[in-house]
Symmetry: C2
Subunit: 435 residues, 2 copies
């Protein structure tokens, strides 16, 4: 992409309305624009990152055996009356009346709807386990939306729902999602700690929140200090095999949210008390919805079983902010490579200079061919402004091309994270970055 044609409305100054760094940097980097309170438009740079995060979530869900569907945003109130949640949910649910005066709502979550899909089509134990997920916009009418897309009203969530014959099956499904979540967040360069959590309005017996430690976190969290040194999960997983050892490894070290914190379970000298951002939560809630909505399958030995269910959420849009909170400096965002909107930024320090233009175009073409998705700053702007913008939007690598260097046959390669720069020939820069 060429910056001269790319819609990237960056800002030099910090917007007054933003209280947290991710909100500030997303506005300044031209990633989002507020449409109304707690509701945002995603501009090209922001949408690009959102798509990359969504794709990682999708790949890891598919790898774990979940199947992607798409449920609508607008739901009928009827199913929610059947489950008893229509009245329970309170003012966070956006209630709507359609032109025929039917009660509708903008889905804050989809347990009822997916259970309706299941009960319509699945009748036999032979068709479970089944795990269906979707990545869809949700709405929660927060009384005081804040922190930009971190706590907005309209937000993108991946939610998966598992159906099993019994508790043992449901436990396997829970473990699959537990491990898939560890992999998902690790791929984004995040350490998300699974913490024993309260089940809240979803209900159920067992739940973990996946928490990124961050000072601006909305909730108090507690964990054993061993967590700070524990490596994230990067190995290949056989999701059909026994995942319990992996789950045990990541649950035996103490970690709990505020509601579930039990000081007796961790020696005080080892306890870390800090704040965290929730990026995912998984639940086992047994037959709460399947009982209410009549989701049953035949059993192998005759008779019927009410299926055991779990649900598994990831805050896809929130992750954009979460990653920025975890990875930035005073100059701007520092994207981990797998979610970076572009792989390499090419800065032509002097657009219009024949040698600079030729070198920049050549590197741009070759990086494009190599699939590195370069962003070329070919604008007619001051060098300082180009450098500041490139640092602000946080691409992992920069190649800086200026007339002085070119006379010596070199360009500058900069690592955004470490700030280290190195002079080398354009060919060497390509060899280094065009993997």
């Amino acid at each position: 992409m060429r910056l001269s044609r790319y819609f990237l409305p960056t800002m030099k100054d910090n917007p007054k309305e933003a209280q947290v760094v991710s909100h500030r940097l997303m506005l300044r980097a031209g990633m989002i624009q507020q449409a109304s309170a707690g509701i945002y438009s995603w501009l090209p740079l922001g949408f690009n990152v959102l798509q990359k995060i969504e794709q990682i979530v999708r790949e890891e869900q598919n790898a774990a055996g979940a199947q992607e569907i798409l449920m609508p945003t607008i739901q009928s109130a009827d199913l929610w009356r059947d489950s008893g949640r229509y009245d329970d949910y309170g003012q966070e649910m956006l209630r709507i009346t359609d032109r025929h005066d039917r009660d509708m709502l903008y889905g804050p979550t989809n347990e009822e709807q997916v259970t309706d899909i299941f009960r319509t089509h699945v009748r036999s134990y032979r068709n479970v386990p089944l795990n269906l997920y979707h990545i869809q916009w949700k709405f929660r009418d927060e009384v005081r939306p804040r922190f930009g897309i971190m706590r907005g009203r309209e937000f993108l969530m991946k939610d998966a729902y598992s159906f099993d014959l019994d508790f043992e099956g449901a436990r396997r499904s829970y473990n699959q999602m537990f491990v898939a979540y560890l992999k998902t967040f690790a791929r984004m360069g995040l350490k998300a700690i699974p913490m024993v959590a309260d089940t809240g309005p979803i209900g159920g017996d067992m739940s973990h929140e996946f928490i990124i430690l961050a000072d601006i976190g909305e909730s108090e969290v507690y964990c054993h200090k061993d967590w700070l040194d524990l490596d994230v999960l990067t190995s290949e997983i056989d999701y059909q095999g026994d995942l319990q050892p992996i789950v045990d490894k990541f649950t035996k070290i103490y970690a709990a949210t505020d509601e579930k914190h039990d000081p007796s379970l961790c020696p005080p000298e080892d306890l870390v008390s800090t704040r965290g951002i929730e990026v995912g939560q998984i639940f086992y809630f047994g037959t709460k919805y399947s009982e209410a909505l009549g989701a049953k399958v035949s059993k192998p030995d005759g008779g019927e079983a009410v299926v055991h269910m779990g649900s598994y959420g990831i805050g896809v849009s929130r992750l954009v902010g979460g990653i920025i909170e975890a990875s930035h400096d005073e100059r701007g965002i520092i994207w981990p490579e797998p979610v970076a909107p572009f792989g390499v930024g090419v800065i032509n320090i002097r657009t219009g200079d024949e040698a600079c233009d030729a070198a920049a175009e050549d590197l741009y073409a070759k990086l494009t061919t190599a699939g590195r998705e370069p962003l070329l700053d070919d604008r007619d702007e001051r060098p300082g402004s180009k450098m500041a913008d490139m640092d602000l939007i946080g691409l992992p690598w920069q190649i800086i091309i200026g007339p002085r260097g070119l006379k010596n046959g070199v360009v500058e390669v900069k690592n955004r994270k470490t700030g280290e720069t190195e002079e080398m020939t354009p060919e060497a820069a390509l060899n280094k970055l065009a993997r």
Copy 2:
């Protein structure tokens, strides 16, 4: 994908509620499930096709120079009051009141919102032309939703918006989208005829609807019979070059919708009068929204210009039905290759037979490696039922593996569209299909 693990709830009988073939086949093939009137969930097979169509639309928009953003589904009523459309829009607009009693709405289209983004960030002629698009769910509260996802209430639309300094620029942007639409529909195996059209509630001076001829079409359309033999546009396009000759070629032959039909423009003996399904519409509407909302840029020679705009819609979810209407037979759907949910269906006629299982697994593995996305029917079902399901879901190619053929070292390769079958060795089948 293995059918034994795939959530594909096919039906043998025609569902009573479906009046048109695409609705019937989408329900029978387990692609969708009605959630409430005019609102559908997309099950794995349907969602797969929807994604493939969405991706083709995206690629062609990007090729034409449009940039992808994402605007939210829920909009504030304020901007619509500024443009004057809040009261005009009538009952098709889903109006919502949030917990703070603010008037909101579920966007049926996004002219106001995108103009707000533009006016916030763009002030100079140097930053136009600009074309921003998004692929987002819309809601129109149809009084009588019907034909399944063809005329639903919640539907997926691609809408692009162009901003130019003057009419000449806007004309170039219009031409870019005109040509991109010809390419987009051609890639899906569709002949969509651009017809002179009325501008309706969007407003404006110039509009084309892209129409697939089909008996079940909602509207009467008229075109010169030469359209029936005209080839679709498949050549490479230089979107920065002059597109007027291409536009002229595809507009000089008469074609108009009912509202714009002028019998004097086509010899009666050459006129085809039929019905059609609209899959896209493009508009040039000048300064209608930019004037109302104050979207201006500085001019090269000083002073300010109110920008000229156009908007360009494609019914992404509707296309799934449109393609089925255009491509099916009495046994089911016939997917054009580029939108087929899986490239090849592998039917193991006798699951459990050692030789059949081995041959099926081997072909499945090799087709997977070749990137052909095979679907393996490894279920324990009757052969007739497997064949019927595979015909119903309409994958372009089938490989049928049975014990009798394997004894002679052959499998059967079937072309779903022509129905032609051919016996050949598994190696030959791979050579044929693993391109």
